[in-house]
């Protein structure tokens, strides 16, 4: 890979000066080790999936659905067992063929449900994203309008002051 020469950085020198600085200032390197934090248990958080709406959780779940909505009835059958492996594979394949008439329609039905659930949730996702964008635009518009109103109020006040001044001048005359 080509590399044009730019001014060099002496990392060793930088690190040495940092070490000196740490020593001079007496900065400690003590941090609680991560390993001292116990492993959380494997269960769900009590608030996982319930509670107030979380756009983050919704997007996570939606992304998962988009990736995995289609359940496959077909998958490679194999066995790593020596000698008996090919025989096992053969019988499993025969079994697969025998129950295919029963399993396939169920999987197909489930996939149709999954497709429609995913489509519906994608629509909701798009609605949320559109709403988010619109809200940002509206917030911006509102801000601009507020600024304009402030400007106009200042202008009105200036005009009123000017008017009062003119009135008082004319009454003096």
């Amino acid at each position: 890979m080509e590399q044009k020469q730019t001014s060099e950085i002496d990392v060793v020198k930088i690190m040495e000066s940092i070490r000196e600085e740490i020593k001079e200032k007496g900065l400690e390197n003590e941090v609680l080790p991560f390993e001292s934090i116990p492993l959380p248990n494997q269960t769900f958080d009590i608030d996982d999936g319930i509670g107030p709406f979380s756009s983050e959780d919704f997007m996570d779940a939606n992304m998962y659905l988009n990736q995995f909505y289609s359940v496959s009835v077909w998958h490679q059958i194999r066995s790593t067992k020596p000698v008996i492996g090919p025989v096992l594979t053969f019988f499993k394949k025969v079994n697969r063929k025998l129950i295919r008439f029963f399993i396939e329609p169920i999987v197909e039905d489930q996939n149709n449900v999954n497709i429609n659930v995913t489509k519906s949730l994608n629509q909701i996702r798009n609605y949320i994203l559109e709403k988010d964008n619109n809200e940002t635009d509206e917030e911006e518009q509102l801000k601009q309008l507020s600024l304009k109103v402030e400007e106009l109020l200042t202008r009105v006040k200036d005009l009123e002051d000017e008017n009062n001044k003119l009135k008082s001048n004319s009454s003096v005359k």
Binding site: Q3, T6, V31, F34, P40, D45, M59, S72, H75
Partner: protein, 357 residues
């Protein structure tokens, strides 16, 4: 002749998915026929020629399979049985040790994947590796076919999109530095080391600093929950886990960042380093796996995880304007090596040599 790219999951927005789509476009632009087969396909890839593995048709003898090796796949035998030429693009597989305590599925998948990579060493006629590290990994796994290094194609044009203004308004120009890491919350990324170093940086140098850990996680994920408990135990404030966010939000976080810190201990390439370079954010990274290959001299590599020293280095890179300028200049120079046109030409050169065109 047709190029058939294959992979288990075609995800939207991840490095392997993006690379697959970029290669597909490059092949089509060159006038080749190209198709992608995957088992799980993100529905957002509507306009691409992507087929489900259920519709698999055995390739013709003059076709070329390009398999993206990054995780185990039960359909690998389809590749083994195919009578055509075969190329593997190796994105690397996370060693099982990282997921042992956290994610049984990821652990099994990586274990299976690593066994599979070893078993497939005699299947491919040619390999492309994302980095020199990945190439060495393949060699150590017993691959004897020719191997070239082809960096991941990054869609830099996407980064020209408008970043989310709400995030920029909220965090830019405020007192305190914005420190950033981008990457899925996974044990090999070592978020805990960034948090530990940040806690000292905040204590000794900048009490108003913020740490943004941008990347997807599942709330029930054990590693994420342990990290969250760690932040609480350290009593360190202003650590933000973004979770899944929109693309323009990611752009905004890069736009406001003063520093990018990566403590990852396993990367096959590490696209976020290039993203940080693109957004002119100085980088500190831990010297591991493919990180030095991608970073080059465009950032500071730390050889050991001494948190006080890393905190000092964070301070130096944030406050020393001359050093920042030098690093940013180097980043811009380094990025030229990953220019899309350049990588495309490398791809054409490699595959056309392979097919004998």
């Amino acid at each position: 002749m047709k190029f058939i790219q294959m992979l288990p999951t075609l995800s939207y927005g991840d490095a392997v998915g993006n690379d697959t789509i970029a290669i597909q476009h490059a092949l089509l632009d060159r006038g080749y026929e190209a198709v992608i087969y995957a088992e799980l396909i993100d529905r957002r890839f509507e306009n691409e020629n992507i087929k489900s593995i259920e519709d698999w048709v055995s390739p013709k003898k003059d076709d070329v399979i390009i398999y993206h090796l990054s995780i185990g796949w039960k359909n690998i035998d389809l590749i083994r049985k195919a009578k055509c030429k075969k190329i593997a693009i190796y994105h690397n597989i996370t060693p099982t040790v990282f997921n042992e305590n956290y994610d049984v599925n990821a652990y099994k998948s990586c274990k299976y994947g690593l066994e599979e990579v070893k078993k497939m060493s005699d299947v491919f006629d040619y390999c492309l590796a994302d980095s020199e590290f990945n190439k060495q990994d393949l060699l150590s796994l017993g691959y004897t076919c020719p191997i070239d290094v082809l960096p991941v194609m990054v869609a830099f044009d996407d980064y020209k999109k408008k970043p989310a203004q709400s995030i920029i308004k909220k965090y830019s120009g405020k007192s305190g530095a914005n420190i950033l890491f981008v990457g899925r919350v996974a044990p090999n990324k070592k978020h805990e080391d960034i948090i530990a170093a940040f806690s000292l940086y905040k204590k000794y140098y900048d009490k108003n600093a913020r740490l943004f850990l941008i990347g997807n996680y599942a709330k029930r994920d054990i590693y994420f929950r342990r990290l969250r408990d760690y932040v609480k135990s350290l009593d360190v404030q202003d650590v933000y886990f973004s979770g899944h966010i929109k693309f323009h939000d990611i752009l905004a976080y890069y736009s406001i960042a003063d520093l990018f810190v990566c403590m990852s201990e396993h990367e096959g390439f590490c696209v976020p380093l290039l993203e940080a370079m693109y957004f002119e954010v100085p980088i500190i990274a831990y010297d591991s796996t493919a990180i030095p290959d991608t970073l080059g001299d465009a950032g500071v590599l730390v050889k050991e995880k001494n948190y006080a020293e890393i905190a000092g280095l964070m301070n130096r890179l944030i406050t020393d304007q001359n050093l920042r300028k030098t690093l940013i200049d180097k980043e811009q120079e380094r990025l030229k090596n990953f220019n899309n046109e350049k990588i495309r030409n490398m791809l054409y050169q490699y595959i056309e040599k392979f097919i004998g065109k």
